[in-house]
């Protein structure tokens, strides 16, 4: 019996992948041994990130780790992948939304329609600004060319931010060549890990979303061909990957804010930042009006956030 071989591409570059995906794939390969091996490719290596979905659907690659937004998935849930403005506060919100509030079912429905298997969703870090010049008020956002997620960019455009999307690997150089003034793509852990902290000077502690939401996907036929135990193993390794990120980011965010030396922290006062949070509520309405599926997801976000507020501390303060 010959070894099953999968090609998997992540949207993360090698430096980040070392933490967020390499360990899980290594674990999978060690356990599966001669039965199955996954070859992992990094951001834009085989195909550009914007083409990831199509490449998986066509079988150029077999599996993908990405958020729905970055890989431009042709589904109704695309805008919610990555950072949907203020949908979550903590990284644990994401798995709860998927496992207990019904997002898993919606995602499964949507991806089945387009011939792709949605395997498992997990969360990453919160979304903060890392910039060359300090941001101390909303006015400082005006005219800043910022690398960010497509949907987050649409949202931020109303504050004068000019969203720019470039290949992930090119971001560090793009900041240096002046194509970008900053990055709104991650928390501080990632800024340090991938080298963005070396090319920017300031970190804004206000975030536009509490946690990234992204998933593992596979070509439907390739997935169905796998024996059940390998499917299970794959799921277990996905969960392992989610778990690793939970503590790696959570701990990293705090320790780098306290001990990091490369970036100066700035803050926009809560009262002023409230403008942004209020704008998000309006933005949710706009998105909900776009389709029935989107309305369903937005409704779930509303319900979840109101539940959390009612639950009080430690779920929500104030």
């Amino acid at each position: 019996q010959s070894t099953i071989k999968w090609r998997m591409q992540t949207y993360a570059g090698p430096a980040l992948a070392e933490h967020v995906i390499d360990p899980a794939i290594k674990m999978f390969n060690t356990i599966a041994g001669d039965r199955m091996q996954i070859e992992l490719f990094y951001a834009d290596q085989l195909v550009p990130t914007g083409e990831l979905f199509r490449a998986m659907q066509r079988g150029t690659i077999d599996a993908v780790q990405s958020d729905d937004d970055s890989m431009a998935s042709p589904t109704e849930v695309t805008v919610f992948g990555g950072y949907f403005p203020f949908a979550s506060r903590y990284s644990l919100d994401v798995p709860v939304l998927f496992n207990q509030y019904g997002l898993n079912e919606i995602w499964d429905e949507e991806y089945s329609k387009v011939g792709v298997k949605h395997i498992s969703a997990g969360s990453w870090d919160p979304c903060h600004f890392a910039t060359k010049d300090p941001i101390r008020s909303l006015k400082d956002l005006e005219g800043k060319r910022v690398f960010t997620f497509p949907t987050a960019g649409r949202f931020l455009a109303q504050f004068g931010v000019v969203p720019v999307t470039l290949p992930w690997e090119d971001i560090e150089v793009a900041v240096q060549t002046g194509e970008l003034d900053g990055i709104a793509w991650s928390g501080i852990t990632e800024d340090y890990t991938v080298g963005w902290a070396d090319v920017t000077n300031y970190f804004l502690t206000n975030n536009i979303s509490g946690a990234w939401a992204g998933s593992f996907f596979a070509n439907m036929d390739r997935w169905n061909e796998l024996p059940e135990d390998l499917q299970t193993l794959f799921r277990v390794c996905c969960d392992q990957s989610h778990y690793y990120r939970q503590w790696w980011y959570w701990g990293g965010e705090a320790s780098l804010r306290v001990d990091g030396t490369k970036m100066e922290l700035t803050t926009i006062p809560d009262a002023e930042w409230q403008t942004v949070e209020d704008a998000a509520v309006k933005f949710w309405d706009e998105i909900a009006a776009e389709s029935e599926t989107k309305a369903r997801v937005v409704e779930i976000f509303r319900k979840y956030n109101s539940d959390m507020a009612k639950a009080g501390r430690p779920y929500r303060y104030g």
């Binding site: 195909v47 490449a55 066509r58 150029t60 060359k132 470039l166 150089v173 090319v199």
Partner: protein
């Protein structure tokens, strides 16, 4: 078949295809897509097109047509004529002086341009006929122009260093600064070579006859003003970039516009010059872009086979070589490959293999960028494959034969290898300036 075998097969098939003389992009592209289809079935057939999307998103490539256009405007409109005259008059009295003046001219042109095309065009069309008329040795001066114009990719701005920066994820500003002193050093070494050669064999570079030298002092001083133009163009392009007012690709557009306006203001932008610049820019840009398109497709498959990992483990685990030995081997293999592989293809296929390895070995990637560029310069002018060779043949007067061109580069390649060795041994030549400016 193991992946390593497939990778070797791909590489050798590509070489074979190249030797048939089919257009380079066709040869590389064919091997890339057929391998993808054979390996990965119908899904693999998308890799070729996927590369087109990748190319589209690779924003620094926008600088390519801009710098090419700039180069053509500078050479076609002959606004560099005055510059040449300046060096001609001032350096003429020295033995081999016109050749030295030509090298200095090339340094100035390099500072205005990111490729070697402009220097080559100006050198071959303006300087070369003059030098031949004055009885300079044709092989020496052909070599001078090729070697001098290759400085275009080492002295900032440099397109090759931009592409390297993208692959190695290193700051372009620092890379450009790192190229300054090695570039000047190499120019000085070329000059030293000419001086020594002409001392031993004065007939290679005769002194200008007195009637040519007898120019009023006021006129000589007036000619110095020609040197202002390149400085202005360089400043218009680089000052806003260094200050962060314009981005890299915007700066290249500013530079192209500045060259264009300079030609218009000097009354040199005739209908013919305009036509030639615009048409040749399309031709050369297409040549580069189609090769990059093909090479990106090839590279994706090559990468997909794990060729990088295979080479890495071969060097470090199996052969057990020390980092320096590996580095030297890599440079040697680069020079060898550069002699028969197209330079753009080399950048897109080989650099992604080597750069991670250099990083893993613990070397400075800024410094390596300079080594890499010097090696590319050598590749640019070593037969059978080199853009400078092609350009030279296309642009030089009829009396310069292919053999002259091939022979002419030998001493200069030697000088460049010495320069490469010096920069390898003394990294501070490259690193001092960026460290000083950026206070690393």
């Amino acid at each position: 078949m193991s992946y390593e075998m497939i990778a070797i097969l791909m590489f050798s098939t590509m070489m074979l295809m190249l030797f048939t003389g089919q257009r380079v992009f066709g040869a590389i592209g064919f091997v890339g897509v057929i391998s993808a289809v054979l390996l990965w079935g119908p899904g693999g057939s998308d890799i070729g097109f996927s590369a087109a999307m990748k190319l589209m998103k690779w924003y620094p490539l926008l600088t390519l047509p801009m710098f090419i256009f700039m180069g053509y405007v500078l050479s076609e409109s002959k606004i560099a004529d005055d510059l040449y005259k300046m060096f001609h008059v001032w350096m003429g009295p020295v033995r081999g002086g016109l050749a030295i003046g030509t090298i200095l001219l090339m340094v100035l042109i390099s500072a205005m341009n990111g490729l070697s095309v402009a220097g080559m065009a100006i050198g071959a069309t303006i300087a070369l006929p003059e030098l031949l008329k004055r009885g300079y040795d044709k092989q020496m001066v052909t070599g001078v122009i090729q070697a001098g114009s290759s400085l275009g990719i080492l002295v900032p701005p440099s397109v090759v260093l931009v592409l390297y920066a993208m692959i190695a994820r290193q700051p372009v500003g620092q890379l450009w600064l790192a190229g300054v002193f090695p570039g000047l050093m190499m120019a000085a070494m070329f000059i030293a070579y000419v001086v020594i050669r002409c001392r031993i064999q004065p007939e290679l570079g005769p002194v200008l006859p007195p009637e040519d030298r007898d120019i009023p002092r006021a006129e000589k001083l007036r000619l110095l003003r020609a040197g202002v133009l390149p400085l202005v163009i360089f400043a218009v392009m680089m000052v806003p970039f260094i200050n962060g007012w314009t981005s890299l690709v915007e700066s290249s557009a500013v530079g192209a516009l500045a060259a264009f306006l300079a030609a218009v203001l000097k009354g040199r932008m005739t209908r013919e010059v305009f036509e030639n610049s615009v048409r040749n820019t399309l031709g050369i840009s297409c040549m580069f872009m189609w090769i990059i398109l093909a090479a990106l497709g090839f590279g994706a498959v090559f990468d997909g086979l794990g060729a990088v990992r295979a080479i890495e483990s071969l060097f470090t685990d199996q052969l057990g070589l020390s980092p320096w030995m590996i580095l030297i081997l890599m440079q040697l293999s680069f020079i060898v490959m550069g002699t028969f592989l197209d330079d753009t293809a080399m950048l897109v296929i080989v650099a992604p293999l080597y750069v991670p390895l250099v990083d893993a070995l613990g070397f400075d990637l800024i410094w390596y960028g300079v080594l890499y560029t010097i090696t590319t310069q050598i590749a640019y002018m070593t037969p059978p494959f080199g853009y400078n060779l092609f350009l030279m043949r296309a642009m030089a007067p009829a009396e310069i034969g292919l053999r002259d061109i091939y022979r002419s580069i030998v001493p200069f390649v030697m000088v460049m290898i010495v320069a490469l060795t010096i920069v390898m041994a003394f990294p501070q030549i490259a690193l001092w300036l960026p460290e000083y400016v950026y206070g690393k």
